[in-house]
Amino acid sequence: MAKIEFRNVVKRFGAVEVIPDMNLVIEDGEFVALLGPSGCGKSTSLFMLAGIYLPSGGELLFDGHVVNEVEARDRNVGIVFQSYALYPHMSVRDNILFPLRFKKTPRDEALTRVKAAANLVRVEELLDRRPSELSGGQQQRVALARALVKEPQLLLLDEPLSNLDASLRLSMRTEIKSLHAQLGVTTVLVTHDQIEATTMADRIICMRAGQIEQVGTPDDLYLKPSSLFVAGFIGSPPINLVAGKAEGGTITVDGVRFPVEGASGSVTVGLRPEHLRFGNTGFAGRIAQIEPMGREILYVVETGMGALRVLEQGSSAGHSTGEEVRIGFQPENSLVFETAQQKLVAGAHVRAPI
């Protein structure tokens, strides 16, 4: 178990600066997710933690010790790759045994630990098979067992679920989370899938272009996104963002006027589809499209501000295409951002026009 710290870490590949200046503390035993679109530097950060990439500047600390130059093999880090990276020419047993080979663990003890690790992820029946004879989910478990068998101080998961089918992804999510609870190993998950991040991690580090946009619990990121980017990245279906101008207590967006508190100038209003309600008051629109999603129904509504998404609970549509509707919302659910800085205006809310 270890506490991880990035202090002004910089990573350059040739002339390209992938991570300009990263500062982050991951507490001992914490489960954090590095979340961001591809190319945001999250995998680079992960490989720096693993010791595969060396930081170009700054300090990387494990438990208060600088590990910048410690080699990958000496860091005692377990890693599960997106492709699982099992060794194709070895049996499952030898795959899980592999990390112990270099630790000079006595054979009997090593085999006991392999058994225990295999039991933990329930692959004990597969020990004699080759990776090519396993399904994706089984390979995933073996990769986990291999990462865990050396009792790592840090577990790194690189997009571990993205190659699994939907139902398997759901059960692996639960399993990884309960493994973490059971073992208490500091875990870093890298993903571009916000659902994976919000469901599994205690804390999410949302990254964009090598910069950390926001660090917080899943709730923080959902309720109080610090920037337009985070607001747009978290939440599915995505948030509605409309740009307007705030003057004298009113934001005007394409002719629709929202009463506002605590904001002025060019602003962007963020309204999550699940917070919008059809009712007798609010701004007017016409339903353009209906997308049933099982428990919920997503309406695409044409309004004076363009097409907005409205999510309604329930499995049968209460409205039909072409219907004229009015849309309202609770003021505390609304978000206001400065358009130029793209930052959240703290405490600012809009009310629905009557």
Binding site: I52, F81, R101, F102
Partner: protein, 355 residues
């Protein structure tokens, strides 16, 4: 709207079936016709090696053996084409093979003997053979054939070992590391292979003479290694490129050093590539003729190809049976190697080479 015409599906199916059959017949007939000129020389070589007698220029046995072989090939093909099931196929093939064996035993059998392989146990076979027709003088002093065989094995084996080792290390480095001049090096690897190596034979001779490796096996080995390496590196690079980075990184985090990761994780993934270049390099070394002919002089340094050359030079007019027998002896190792490694060689041309 086009008027609906009645379609005779059965007639269409029959027509397609007939067309498919006739195409297959024509194709096989063509393949048999073009493969005969390739098969026949080898077949004759073997037949002559086991049947020819000193001083007798008799081709009747060749024609008799052909009278067995050609009908056999055609019959095998017919059996394969007409068989309706796997069982019929096997029965057909076995019947044809049995009849062919009997016919061969009757027509060719009485002429077969092992006398032409005299060189295997009699180093001075040239004198023996010549004495049979009463001409003893002027025979070449041949070394023991096993000595030449050993030299060939040594050249081909050492060349293979060096090429495989150097090519795997160099190709791994070229595939995984970025360094100045990498792309021009890759380009030059191919360009090197494009030059006819024979053009370098005079400078090579001079260089070997000056460094004192002329007429030594190691000199020839060095030259052959140098000429074989570029292509082997290029092939191996393709194989290394196909090994995913992930498993190597995984090995590093699992506690392996770069070298341990290379040996225990990366090398096993390119096993087929190594086998392929090993077989090709060995066979290249085994059949090498021009360089050994130029750079090796003493008869204790002779390889099998030189031995073959001198046998042909010395006793061809007297006993072409012995020449053929040496040919068969020379052929066997490459044949065994090719058959054993065929599977891997196929993979090289299909899966391995990717720029």
């Amino acid at each position: 709207m086009v008027a609906r015409t009645t379609v005779d599906w059965d007639a269409l199916a029959t027509r397609a079936r007939v067309a498919r059959r006739s195409r297959a017949v024509v194709l096989y007939a063509f393949l048999i016709a073009v493969s005969l000129p390739i098969i026949l020389p080898y077949f004759w070589l073997v037949t002559i090696a086991f049947s020819a007698r000193t001083g007798v220029a008799d081709t009747a046995v060749l024609w008799r053996s052909m009278a067995v072989v050609i009908p056999t090939v055609v019959a095998l093909w017919l059996a394969a084409a007409l068989a309706q099931s796997r069982r019929q196929l096997w029965m057909g093939l076995t019947a044809v093979a049995a009849i062919a064996a009997v016919a061969f035993a009757l027509l060719v059998g009485p002429d077969l003997h092992l006398g032409n392989f005299i060189f295997l146990w009699e180093p001075d076979f040239a004198s023996v053979v010549r004495s049979r027709i009463g001409e003893v003088k002027g025979a070449v002093q041949f070394p023991n054939v096993w000595h030449a065989f050993g030299n060939s094995i040594l050249i081909a084996g050492a060349q293979t070992t060096i090429v495989v080792t150097v090519a795997s290390l160099a190709a791994y480095y070229l595939s995984r590391f970025q360094f100045p001049g990498r792309s021009s090096m890759l380009r030059s690897l191919l360009v090197l292979h494009a030059f006819p190596v024979l053009t370098l034979i005079v400078p090579m001779f001079l260089m070997l003479y000056w460094i004192g490796l002329l007429d030594t096996l190691s000199g020839v080995i060095i030259v052959l290694v140098a000429f074989e390496l570029p292509f082997a590196i290029f092939i191996m690079k393709g194989f290394f490129d196909a090994v995913p980075w992930d498993i190597e990184m995984s090995a590093l985090t699992d506690g392996a050093s770069r070298r341990q990761a290379f040996v225990s994780v990366v090398l096993p993934q390119v096993r087929n590539g190594i086998l392929a270049i090993a077989v090709f390099t060995f066979i290249r070394g085994w059949e090498e003729y021009i360089f050994v002919f130029t750079f090796l002089i003493r008869n204790s340094n002779w390889t099998m190809s030189l031995y073959m050359y001198w046998v042909r030079d010395d006793v061809m007019g007297v006993d072409y049976g012995v020449v053929s027998a040496v040919g068969v002896f020379y052929l066997v190792p490459s044949l065994i190697l090719y058959m054993g490694a065929q599977r891997y060689l196929m993979q090289m041309s299909i899966g391995g080479v990717k720029g």
